[in-house]
Symmetry: C2
Subunit: 242 residues, 2 copies
Amino acid sequence: MHLRKDVHTDGTPALCASCEARHRGVCGALDSAQLVALSKVSRKHKADSGAELIGDSEPVETYSNVLSGVVKLSKMLSDGRQQIVGLQFAPDFLGRPFRPESAISAEAATDVTLCTFPKAAVERMMRESPGLERRLLEQTLKELDEARDWMVTLGRKTAAEKVASLLLLIARNIDPTLASQTGSVTFDLPLTRSDIADFLGLTIETVSRQLTKLRTEGVISIENNRRVIVNDQRRLETRCGN
Amino acid sequence: MHLRKDVHTDGTPALCASCEARHRGVCGALDSAQLVALSKVSRKHKADSGAELIGDSEPVETYSNVLSGVVKLSKMLSDGRQQIVGLQFAPDFLGRPFRPESAISAEAATDVTLCTFPKAAVERMMRESPGLERRLLEQTLKELDEARDWMVTLGRKTAAEKVASLLLLIARNIDPTLASQTGSVTFDLPLTRSDIADFLGLTIETVSRQLTKLRTEGVISIENNRRVIVNDQRRLETRCGN
DNA sequence: CGGCCGGTTGAATCTCTTCAACGTCCGTGG
DNA sequence: CCACGGACGTTGAAGAGATTCAACCGGCCG
């Protein structure tokens, strides 16, 4: 492993010292002085799995960075049908700039750690620091790319391909250090079968059947219904239809 | 109708004088001097229906504004299955900042008029003018909202609801002056049955059947396979599942 | 212990797809 | 001028894939 000087270390607030959002997240656009200012009004806190972070069409007074865990973004039709429209992993930015209220709801899929800022503070900083706006634009473009990728999955893939695609998506995001490995990966599913169904546009029964199919075919192993071992990522990739 | 002074009229380049993108599009963020500078390197031109505007994973040297017509954005799986992931109407901005190549392909769904700029010119202007970056962020957020809305349609709606949703989407975008009217709307479908199928994640046969169903039920009328008359927008809305 | 939640599995059902035939429009060329 | 072919669209019948409904299992908590 190659060691190098961390250019961000000097004068960094304690709160931010070990924060991933300062490197790969939006806070990476801020200098020490700005970090100090923002850290004064920010709050690091935990939320349990299932906690509602942003309610549908409810005024939002804060933005957050996801520091650990997984947040699911979802939309619902009036009759209760639900669709998860995105998953957020550390160090994603959570919130919808320029809108008083969100059109989607955000819920903790697992226990999560968040760093939460008042909306006004972030927006003031956006005006002062074009770099922050740039980062936000980049994150938004990334999310747009992901959303469009997922539209292909939803519209054109079979149930088997959908499930394989989701496993690969999670494997690649849950622990980014293992990203695009070729070998085996192990992780705890951050989603229930019901969540998975809502993300894939399927029913829980179909999800269950496809998972057991992948298991009996030796592509994955499952322990305790939640822990998944992808025996060979490449083999999983071939089942994604891409 | 209320008349008011157009604050943008002074010193505007001839090319931009009547351009919708100067009001509702990204160019609205630019002052006269910037418009003049940009107009010197921009080119207004037409493309026929079916023309490929941005190829999949092909380097992109330009950005464009859509001035008239409809552009479809699509992605394809390796075996040829296709999904349209977005439609762009005037005055949408076309292009993917910060990426040397696009992950999607853009094709003229109808005859279109574009105003095209060199990538470098826009990016320089983005650095000089935070307002432009802001506009771009807003457009990107709008596209993200639309993409997520469509994910619900793809994942959770029935074929009938999908077709109704698409008709409403087009009715609301094709002529924005008629937006959210309650009465009847008439327009030419900018998409073939095949395009519609690729946007909705269906087959052309299913699309055709659902359209005839809407027709026989009196919700819409169809002339020449392309011209659609929505007899009552509210009745169409009730069939969208939202 | 009993009930509930999350998950799995089986059988019947249904929606959408697939395959095939047919109709219309339109430009081309004999 | 009309015949031909292709692009686009509609319709019908058969088939597949996912859903629905139901039963069942194991773990957890009051």
